[in-house]
C-alpha cells in the first residue's frame, strides 16, 4: 500500500501531467500544422479579437440564444464545469500535497465548500446521464464511450468523497481516488474531454469566420 501510494502521488503525477500537457500541445500542433497544410485560409481569416469575443461570450451563462432556450441545461453545465475545474485545484488536501512536494502553496477551499462542489459535480454527471437516457435526441447519438467518459470524470469525485468521509476501506479508497484522477487526466487528450483545448480552438475559428468574414455574430 505504501509503495503504491507513494508511486501514485509521486512519479505518476509527473507521468499524468506530462501526458496531459504534451498530449494537448501535441494535439494543438497536429491540428494547426494539418490545417496550415490543407486549409491555410483558416489562418488568413483568423482574427484575435473575434476569436476572443466568441470564446468569452460562450463562457458567460445565458449570453447566447441557445443557452437561454435551455435554462436548466445551462445552469447545470456551468455549475458542473466550474466545480469540476475549481475543486481539484483548490482542494485543501491537494494544495497541501503540492506544498509538501514543491513548497508552493495557494488559496484553498474550505472543506465544506469543496465537499459541496464535489457533490455538485456528481449531481451534474447524474443529470447528464439521465438526460442522455431520457432525451430522445441525446439518447439517439449517445455512444457507449460517452457514458464511459462521464464515468471517468465521476470517479475521482466519487472516490474523493468516499475517502473524505472515510467510508469503506479508507486506504483502498484513497488509492482508487488518486488512480481515478490519473485516469481522468490521461483521458483528456484522447477523448472528447479534449474540448478543454478544442473549445477555444474551434470557437476561435468559428468566431473569426462568422464575425470577421460573414459579418454576423456566432451566438
Amino acid at each position: 500500500m505504501h509503495t503504491v501510494y507513494i508511486f501514485l502521488t509521486g512519479p505518476m503525477v509527473w507521468v499524468s501531467l506530462l501526458i496531459l500537457v504534451f498530449g494537448l500541445i501535441g494535439k494543438f500542433i497536429y491540428l494547426t500544422s494539418m490545417a496550415k497544410k490543407r486549409d491555410p485560409w483558416i489562418f488568413n481569416y483568423f482574427q484575435f479579437k473575434y476569436a476572443i469575443k466568441s470564446i468569452l461570450i460562450w463562457l458567460v451563462p445565458f449570453a447566447t440564444m441557445n443557452m437561454r432556450r435551455n435554462p436548466v441545461m445551462t445552469v447545470v453545465t456551468f455549475v458542473f464545469h466550474i466545480c469540476l475545474i475549481i475543486v481539484p485545484i483548490f482542494a485543501l488536501a491537494h494544495v497541501i500535497m503540492w506544498e509538501e512536494a514543491w513548497g508552493i502553496s495557494w488559496w484553498t477551499l474550505p472543506e465544506t465548500v469543496a465537499v459541496t462542489m464535489s457533490f455538485l459535480v456528481l449531481g451534474g454527471i447524474l443529470f447528464f446521464i439521465i438526460r442522455r437516457m431520457k432525451l430522445p435526441e441525446a439518447r439517439y447519438v449517445t455512444r457507449v464511450q460517452d457514458y464511459f467518459i462521464l464515468l471517468i470524470v465521476a470517479l475521482p469525485f466519487l472516490t474523493g468523497l468516499l475517502a473524505y468521509y472515510q467510508i469503506f476501506n479508507y486506504q483502498l479508497m484513497i488509492i482508487l481516488h488518486v488512480a481515478a484522477g490519473h485516469i481522468m487526466l490521461i483521458a483528456i487528450p484522447f477523448t472528447w474531454l479534449s474540448h478543454l483545448l478544442l473549445f477555444p480552438m474551434l470557437r476561435g475559428y468559428v468566431g473569426s469566420e462568422f464575425q470577421g468574414v460573414r459579418n454576423v455574430k456566432d451566438w
Binding site: 494539418m34 440564444m65 472528447w192 456566432d218 451566438w219
Partner: protein, 442 residues
C-alpha cells in the same frame, strides 16, 4: 403523428443506379481520400470534439417538423454519415452510402443555423458538404441535381441555356421594358461599365420578368451597367452543392473572368442566396482567393445603397402586413439582415417580424441544393418545414419578403401545402412596383 412521419422511401435513379455500380474497395478508398487527404484539422476537430449533447437538434427545421425525430437532428445526421464512415475506416455498405446521400442531399440545407446552437461552433453544414463530396466522387447524386451539374459542365450555366438563347432572352426583356421605359437598354458586353449584373440561369429560363425588373431599376437609378454575352453570366453553382468542387471552381473562375474581361468595377448579383455563398465563401477559397477577386455585392446591398443615395425613391407603399424572411446565405453568410429590412421597410411600413429572425431564422428548406433534387424529393422538404409554416402563420402577414430564389421556391411550396394564403415577393418585385419611375410611359 404528423403526415411527415409517414414518408416512404424515395426512388431516385441518380441514387439508386449510382450505388449499384459501387464496390466496397471503391467506397473505402474514396471515403479515406476525402476524409484523410482532402479534409483536414477542421473535420477532425469538429468530429472529435462533439460530445453528442444534442443541443443542436432544435436548430434544424427537419428535426422540428418531423416530430422531433432525432434522426433529423444535425448531430443525428452526422452520426448516420460521417461518424460511421470514419469509425469504420470507410468500410461501409452500398446501402449505407445510399442512405447517407439521401441524408446529405435532401435532408440538410447546409443553412448553418445549427452552428449558432452548438457551444463548440461545430459546422454541420460543412460536415454534410464532406459527405456530399464523398457521394459525388462515388457517383451517387440525386438525378435532378446532377442534371444541373451536367448543365454547368457543358454550358457554364445551370439550365442548359444556349449562348444565343441567353442573348435572345435579354433582348426580349429589353424589348418588353422599352414599352415602359422608351430609352431602356440591357447593355450586352459593354466593356468598362461600372457594374456587371449577373443572374442565375433560372431567370432567363423561366423568370425572365426578374431581368426586366432589374433593368428597370438600373434604368431609374441611372447605373452604368452591363451583362456578359458569353458564358460566365450565370452566377449559380449547383456543383458546389453536389460536391463537385472542381466544377465549382471552374464556374466561379468563369464568372470572375467575365467581369475582368468587361473591366467592370464590381459585380452586382441578383437576389440569389446560394450564388452569393459560392462567390464569397466556397468558390473563392477553392480558387485561392481570400476575398472575392473583384468586389461583388448582393442585390440587397445594391438596393440599399441606391435607396440611401436617393437614386431610387419611394412612390407608393404596400399597406398590407409584411414580414421579412432572412435567407441563410445573406444572413448567416454576410449579415445583410439589417440592410434587407431597411429596403423592405422603405416600401412596407407595415412590417412584422417572424420569430426567430435574423441570424436565427428558420431555413426555407429549399436551399443547399435540396429543391434542385427535384420532384422526387419535394415532399421531404415540404413536410420537413412545417415549422416554417407555423412560424409564418404566427405573423399574420399577407406578404413575405424573401430576397432569395431558393427561398421563394421553398416558401411557395410551403405556403401552398399548408394553405397559408400569403404572397412571396423579392425586394426587386417591390421596388419595381413601388418606386418612382421618371421617364416611364404609363
Amino acid at each position: 403523428m404528423s403526415e411527415a412521419a409517414t414518408a416512404a422511401k424515395i426512388e431516385d435513379p441518380g441514387l439508386d443506379q449510382g450505388v449499384e455500380k459501387l464496390t466496397r474497395d471503391q467506397i473505402q478508398s474514396t471515403i479515406l481520400k476525402v476524409v484523410n487527404q482532402e479534409n483536414s484539422a477542421r473535420l477532425r476537430a469538429m468530429v472529435g470534439t462533439c460530445v453528442s449533447c444534442g443541443l443542436c437538434s432544435e436548430a434544424c427545421h427537419y428535426f422540428m417538423s418531423y416530430d422531433r425525430n432525432p434522426y433529423y437532428a444535425p448531430v443525428g445526421k452526422v452520426k448516420e454519415t460521417l461518424w460511421e464512415m470514419m469509425s469504420r475506416n470507410g468500410m461501409v455498405s452500398k446501402e449505407f452510402i445510399r442512405r447517407a446521400a439521401t441524408t446529405a442531399y435532401t435532408e440538410c440545407n447546409l443553412c448553418k443555423r445549427c452552428v449558432h446552437f452548438c457551444p463548440f461552433g461545430i459546422d454541420t453544414a460543412y460536415l454534410m458538404t464532406v459527405v456530399r463530396r464523398i457521394c459525388h466522387l462515388l457517383g451517387v447524386t440525386p438525378q435532378y441535381l446532377q442534371d444541373t451539374c451536367h448543365s454547368h459542365s457543358a454550358t457554364f450555366n445551370q439550365m442548359w441555356v444556349k449562348d444565343d438563347e441567353w442573348i435572345d432572352s435579354l433582348q426580349w426583356q429589353e424589348e418588353e421594358a422599352r414599352d415602359e421605359f422608351p430609352g431602356l437598354r440591357i447593355p450586352l458586353d459593354k466593356e468598362g461599365s461600372d457594374i456587371m449584373y449577373s443572374v442565375i440561369a433560372p431567370e432567363p429560363k423561366f423568370r425572365a420578368q426578374l431581368i426586366y425588373q432589374a433593368a428597370a431599376i438600373f434604368q431609374v437609378a441611372g447605373s452604368d451597367w452591363t451583362m456578359p454575352a458569353t458564358p460566365g453570366w450565370d452566377n449559380s453553382d449547383m456543383a458546389m452543392f453536389s460536391g463537385d468542387a472542381e466544377m465549382m471552381g471552374r464556374l466561379k473562375k468563369k464568372h470572375y473572368e467575365a467581369a475582368r474581361r468587361l473591366r467592370v468595377k464590381k459585380i452586382v448579383m441578383g437576389e440569389c442566396g446560394h450564388a452569393y455563398r459560392s462567390v464569397y465563401d466556397m468558390g473563392n477559397r477553392w480558387l485561392g482567393f481570400k476575398d472575392m477577386p473583384i468586389p461583388i455585392i448582393h442585390a440587397i446591398q445594391f438596393y440599399c445603397e441606391l435607396l440611401r443615395a436617393g437614386k431610387i425613391k419611394v412612390a407608393s407603399r404596400i399597406t398590407e402586413l409584411c414580414t421579412f424572411h432572412d435567407p441563410c446565405n445573406t444572413v448567416r453568410g454576410m449579415g445583410l439582415h439589417e440592410m434587407g429590412r431597411e429596403v423592405a421597410r422603405a416600401f412596407c411600413p407595415n412590417m412584422v417580424e417572424m420569430h426567430p429572425n435574423r441570424e436565427h431564422n428558420y431555413c426555407c428548406c429549399a436551399g443547399g441544393g435540396v429543391i434542385n433534387c427535384g420532384p422526387p424529393h419535394k415532399m421531404t422538404r415540404v413536410l420537413g418545414n412545417r415549422i416554417k409554416a407555423e412560424q409564418l402563420k404566427a405573423t399574420g402577414a399577407k406578404i413575405i419578403v424573401a430576397p432569395c430564389h431558393n427561398c421563394h421556391g421553398g416558401l411557395e411550396d410551403i405556403v401552398h401545402h399548408y394553405k397559408l394564403n400569403m404572397k412571396i415577393k423579392f425586394l426587386g418585385d417591390i421596388i419595381y412596383e413601388h418606386m418612382q419611375k421618371p421617364g416611364a410611359v404609363e
